[in-house]
């Protein structure tokens, strides 16, 4: 290390020696890049590729967890919806609004939800399209559930009576007195 070098670094070489001395292959923690830690390019090049693969798998696994996360809250929402009943009241409307708004908000923020997992450090971008699709699908299911709630509460304009007010009156051809 040349004097005057202002780089501050931690000397992590004992970790390498220790590992080799004991003869045990200690798996490095996820995301730990020894080469990067040691600061020397080209060192531990063999483990680098192996770590990248593990990292990608891990990201995919985490992404799946994120993707099916909303599904876990669905039963809870259904229970709350059942508890609030189908009558039009402030409570049931609030619950239904929540059921509708949270998946909508989640769908809007789908990129942000997966951003950390999709691209991390120097590793290659992981393709999370499937996870995103599942995430969106589950949230869509939430929206559908919300719509169903609206429907059974009678808040969806799906019947003739909902359009009655817009019906134009007839014109009368004849006059009488």
């Amino acid at each position: 290390m040349a004097p005057g070098n202002s780089r501050v670094y931690a000397d992590l070489s004992p970790l390498v020696a220790k590992g080799k001395a004991s003869g045990k292959a200690i798996k490095e923690p996820a995301g730990f890049d020894l080469q990067a830690a040691l600061g020397g390019p080209g060192s531990a090049a063999a483990g680098h590729a192996r770590n990248d693969t593990a990292d990608a798998e891990l990201r995919v696994k985490k992404a799946w967890e994120v993707a099916i996360g909303p599904g876990k809250s669905l039963p809870m929402q259904a229970f709350m919806a059942w508890m609030s009943g189908t009558s039009v009241s402030i409570f049931s409307i609030l619950i239904t609004g929540m059921i509708l708004m949270s998946p909508l908000r989640a769908i809007m923020g789908v990129q942000q939800a997966f951003a950390g997992l999709e691209r991390g450090g120097k590793s290659a971008k992981v393709d999370l399209t499937m996870q995103k699709a599942v995430f969106v699908a589950i949230n869509l299911a939430g929206i559908l559930f919300g719509m169903y709630r609206l429907s059974i509460m009678g808040l969806l304009p799906t019947t003739t009576s909902d359009w009655l007010a817009f019906l134009p009156p007839k014109t009368y051809v004849e006059y009488s007195a």
Partner: protein, 983 residues
């Protein structure tokens, strides 16, 4: 800056609040929200009677009312609604005797002070024709003799059967009864119309003494006959036969005329024979049974084109009866009357309409005269005059005008001592006029800134500001709107200015007595009145139409058109300024050269913005006359309302209703020919007993009815829907037909086998939107109808009996219509009704109440859900619950909370009317007939008004507290935000 914004917000809130206060509704409008006027009708007999130190004026009226009016104040002391023709009235010693009823005859004695019934006698309907009616007290006893039914009877209080009864065997129509000595004399017109017949019965036993004829070709009460009771000297009948110049005098009890009397002797003046033929007699002592010993009468004659009246007294000389001339006076244009009170001095009163003067003529010394303030244009000429004396001894003149005004005049003041306007008891039609709201700054601005008036934008801007400044100035001058305006002109303007809520309108009535009167619906004060007459005869008004509304931005006055009949049934149409009552056309009112069968507003507007009026004439070739009778109006009608249909022949008793189509003339003209479009023949043996159609234009908020499952039953809305009720002659029963008035097509019929319609149980109906409500009397029929009573039937018309099925055509033509699906239900009415009406609101979003005017004088509003024919029997399903249906109950409740008239007895209601206010929740409801009553109804509750418990103070305090919080908290929050940014 924040503080400034907060201040601005607070100021805005305060401004909004003040605005809210100015437009709020307050509960202290009691007496303005609803008002009531008890009336008696136009009297046909007026008698004054003093008893126990009080004088009352007792009247019987054409409407079958017996009433006592305070002689000093004109206030109604009591009234009894007999509801039948009153044939006799006599007063003795604090008792009132009446005979009423033509068929079933009732003789009643009432307490003059309280009006309570002392005793009565009911004579069942005679087997043969009824023979008039009369009644008289027997001397000073409690007994009464009366012509009741076809008998002469003597009655005594406390006896259920007559003391004696003498059958008259339909020999005549006896309308005069005099008790003299030991005999009772009944005088009447002979059954064959040949003259008068006298029946003399012995008072003690009822034995027929004599029965003979006098006075050939003469009838009672025509000005050619008089009955004079000279007390101990006998009773005399005075008459002059047609084309005879000699007056004949007959003493009752003798079988031939006693002596003749010549004009020259009576008048001490020679008359030409033709003048003798025009002379008439008038009774001066109105109470026919009051025996003064020296009866007086007036003889009026014309000599040298001057009309003179002689007051003559019948006196007994030493050996025989003689006539003495008391006084003679000029009576041109005067109504001559006598004393309404036995024994009152001053024999005759002459009241002149022109000049509004009165003069009393008697034995010279007591002559008095006076003037009175009087608006002939509003009340018509004086038609009756009488003299009476108050308990304090002062002489009063009682006048009655052709319009129906009663006024008491005194010698000391030209202002009447009291007046009673009884014209409205004879109202035949009424119309509401919406008044323009108070001219606000915004309206000034709208008027000032109409681009059509002022083209320059800058000028409009300045005008708008000027208008606002003017308004502000006026408001400040009026004590910020808190001071009451006492200025008379301002008060008059207020009477014809509406309010922001549309509660204050003009109710314009047309009456049978020829008076058109506008009353303010808030408080009921009279705004104007006008008496309509053609050639001296009052116009019997039948219809009142508002043909031009108030135009807030225009200067053309609103117009009310009244249609009536003059002499010989000729149609008379008058157009009046609806705010002042002034006639719009110059010149005298003239009868039109035809008599109308029906009159209606046409769906067309003339050049002057007035709606046109149609007058249909009946006959071999019915015609439609357009009013105003101008070619332009006819052209406007033909351009706007073709094809036009109307029907004739739906009156009571008709068996055929005919529909006509108006044909527009090729050449200019005011009259349209018609072609017969259809004929609606009732089944054999049926005759019409009632008909109904929509009352004015209808509008609807929702075209369908939403069911529990949110599907829709579409309403069948046909503006040409008509209802007919026909009674079968033989086995009875009433059929109700719903038909189309353009095509004559039967839409639906309902049979009521147990129903019966008569004058006592009329058919009543009201049509609104797709609903018809009618009431019928049902007799008990074993095995068929469970009970006697009034049944209310409700029929709702839908396009289909299946939900969501609709006739999709955008145009509705009666000539190609589909039959409706009718849902009906019957309910037991709580009480008999005399009229039905329906509440109307501005947008028809509020449900409608059906208002029943009950014969007990209540106005009962039955809410829409209770009259729903879809009310299910048994338990409600979920869908029915969701639809808001109420389980069916046969009887309609008489819920005291739904009685609009509160404690008032609104008697004799003939029609219930309604007009919308500007507030959707509220409807103005009026009822008229004998009495008048107005109120407001909110069928769905006052959902758009603040409740009386709403605390404005709380609102003000809360708003001020919030404003103060903003003001104080603003800088603190700002400081904290800055501090947090630095941390």
């Amino acid at each position: 800056m924040v503080a400034g914004r907060s201040l601005g917000r607070a100021a805005l809130s305060a401004a909004l609040l003040l605005g809210g206060l100015a437009f709020g509704l307050f509960p202290d409008e009691a007496g303005r929200i609803d008002w009531y006027r008890a009336q008696i009708g136009v009297p046909d007999r007026l008698l004054a009677h003093a008893h126990n130190g009080t004088t009352g004026i007792y009247a019987t009226t054409e409407q079958g009312v017996l009433a006592a009016v305070d002689a000093d104040s004109g206030e109604l002391r009591w009234r009894q609604l007999l509801g039948e023709h009153i044939g006799a009235l006599q007063l003795r010693g604090g008792r009132v005797l009446t005979q009423s009823g033509a068929n079933e005859s009732r003789v009643r004695v009432w307490d003059a002070h309280s009006g309570s019934l002392q005793w009565e006698f009911v004579q069942p309907p005679p087997a043969r024709r009824a023979a008039g009616g009369a009644a008289a007290f027997v001397g000073d006893s409690e007994d009464v003799v009366a012509v009741a039914g076809d008998s002469l009877v003597r009655l005594a209080p406390g006896r259920a059967v007559p003391v004696w009864e003498l059958r008259l065997n339909s020999t005549g129509t006896y309308r005069r009864l005099v008790v003299h000595g030991s005999s009772a004399f009944a005088v009447g017109e002979r059954a064959d119309g040949g003259g008068l017949r006298v029946v003399e019965a012995e008072l003690a036993s009822g034995r027929l003494q004599k029965q003979y004829d006098i006075a050939d070709g003469v009838a009672l009460g025509t000005g050619h006959t008089l009955v004079l009771d000279a007390g101990a000297h006998g009773v005399y009948v005075l008459w002059r036969e047609a084309k005879s110049i000699v007056w004949q005098i007959h003493k009752l009890g003798l079988t031939r005329p006693l002596w003749d009397m010549y004009h020259a002797k009576l008048l001490q003046e020679e008359l030409a024979p033709e003048d003798m033929l025009t002379s008439t007699l008038a009774e001066l002592d109105s109470d026919s049974g009051s025996s003064t010993g020296t009866p007086r009468f007036a003889l009026t004659y014309t000599k040298d084109r001057a009309r003179k009246t002689v007051v003559i007294e019948l006196i007994a000389t030493s050996d025989r009866m003689d006539m003495r001339k008391l006084t003679v006076f000029r009576s041109d244009g005067a109504v001559v009357g006598g004393s309404a009170m036995p024994g009152a001095r001053g024999a005759a009163v002459a009241v002149r309409t022109s000049g509004a003067t009165w003069s009393v003529h008697g034995d010279g010394a007591r002559a008095a005269k006076g003037e009175f303030a009087y608006a002939e244009a509003a009340h018509g000429p004086v038609v009756r005059a009488a003299l009476y004396r108050t308990a304090a001894g002062s002489t009063r003149v009682l006048v009655q005008t052709g319009g129906g005004l009663l006024a008491a005049l005194g010698p000391d003041s030209s202002e009447p001592l009291w007046v009673r306007d009884e014209a409205l008891a004879h109202a035949t039609d009424m119309a509401f006029l919406d008044l323009p709201p108070p001219a606000s700054a915004a309206e000034h601005a709208a008027k000032a800134t109409d681009p059509a008036v002022v083209t320059s934008a800058a000028a409009r801007y300045l005008l708008r500001w000027a208008a606002t400044a003017r308004e502000l100035g006026a408001w400040t001058a009026a004590g910020f709107g808190l001071l009451e305006q006492r200025d008379k002109a301002a008060h008059a303007a207020a009477a014809t200015t509406g309010d922001h809520f549309g509660f204050h309108k003009l109710a314009i009535f047309g009456t049978r007595t020829g008076v058109v009167t506008a009353l303010g619906t808030q408080g009921g004060a009279r705004v104007w009145a006008r008496y309509l007459a053609v050639d001296g005869a009052s116009v019997a008004i039948e219809h009142v139409f508002v043909t031009r509304r108030c135009q807030p931005l225009g200067d053309a006055p609103p117009v009310v058109v009244v249609v009536g009949r003059g002499a010989q049934n000729a149609t008379v149409v008058a157009a009046l300024d609806a705010l002042t009552g002034a006639p719009l056309a110059d010149g005298r009112l003239r009868p039109l050269p035809f008599g109308h069968a029906r009159a209606f507003v046409l769906p067309a507007v003339g050049d002057d913005g007035q709606q046109l009026v149609g007058l249909a004439t009946d006959g071999a070739e019915p015609r439609l006359e357009v009013w105003p009778p101008t070619a332009a109006a006819t052209q406007a009608f033909c351009a706007a309302a073709t094809p036009f249909f109307f029907e004739l022949g739906d009156g009571t008793g008709s068996m055929r209703v005919r529909g006509y189509r108006a044909e527009c003339p090729a050449a200019a003209g005011t009259s349209l020919t018609t072609t017969r479009a259809w004929t609606f023949d009732l089944p054999e043996g049926e005759a019409l007993v009632g008909a109904a159609r929509y009352d004015g234009a209808q509008s609807t908020a929702l075209l369908g009815r939403v069911l529990g499952d949110r599907s829709v039953l579409y309403k069948y809305i046909n503006p040409h829907l008509g209802t007919l009720a026909a009674q079968r002659a033989g086995r009875g029963g009433v059929a109700v037909y719903l038909f189309d008035r353009v095509s004559g097509r039967l839409l639906h019929s309902a049979q009521h086998a147990a129903a019966r319609v008569s004058a006592a149980h009329p058919f009543l109906a009201t049509q609104t939107e797709n609903r018809i409500v009618y009431q019928l009397w049902h007799d008990e029929i074993p095995g068929a109808a469970p009970a006697r009573g009034y049944v209310t039937v409700v029929a709702d018309l839908f396009e289909s009996d299946r939900a969501d099925v609709r006739d999709e055509r955008a145009e509705f033509s009666s000539l190609d219509l589909r039959l409706p699906s009718v849902v009906m239900a019957a309910f037991v009415a709580p009480e008999p009704a005399t009229a039905l009406g329906t509440t109307r609101t501005a947008s028809h979003i509020t449900t409608r109440d059906v208002v029943f005017a009950l014969s007990s004088g209540k106005l009962l509003a039955i809410p829409d859900p209770l009259l729903d024919p879809r009310r299910p029997v048994g338990a409600l399903s979920a869908d029915e619950q969701a639809e808001g249906l109420v389980p069916y109950m046969a009887s309609l409740p008489l819920d005291p909370r739904r009685v609009l008239s509160h404690g008032h007895r609104v008697a004799g209601v003939r029609r219930v009317v309604s007009a919308p206010a500007h507030l959707e929740s509220t409807s103005l409801v009026g009822a008229y007939g004998l009495d008048l009553f107005f109120t407001r109804a909110s069928p769905s509750g006052t959902f758009d008004q603040l409740s009386p418990s709403f605390s404005k103070l709380n609102l003000v305090v809360t708003t001020l507290a919030l404003a103060a919080g903003c003001l104080l908290g603003g800088p603190m929050v700002r400081r904290r935000l800055v501090a947090r940014a630095w941390a």
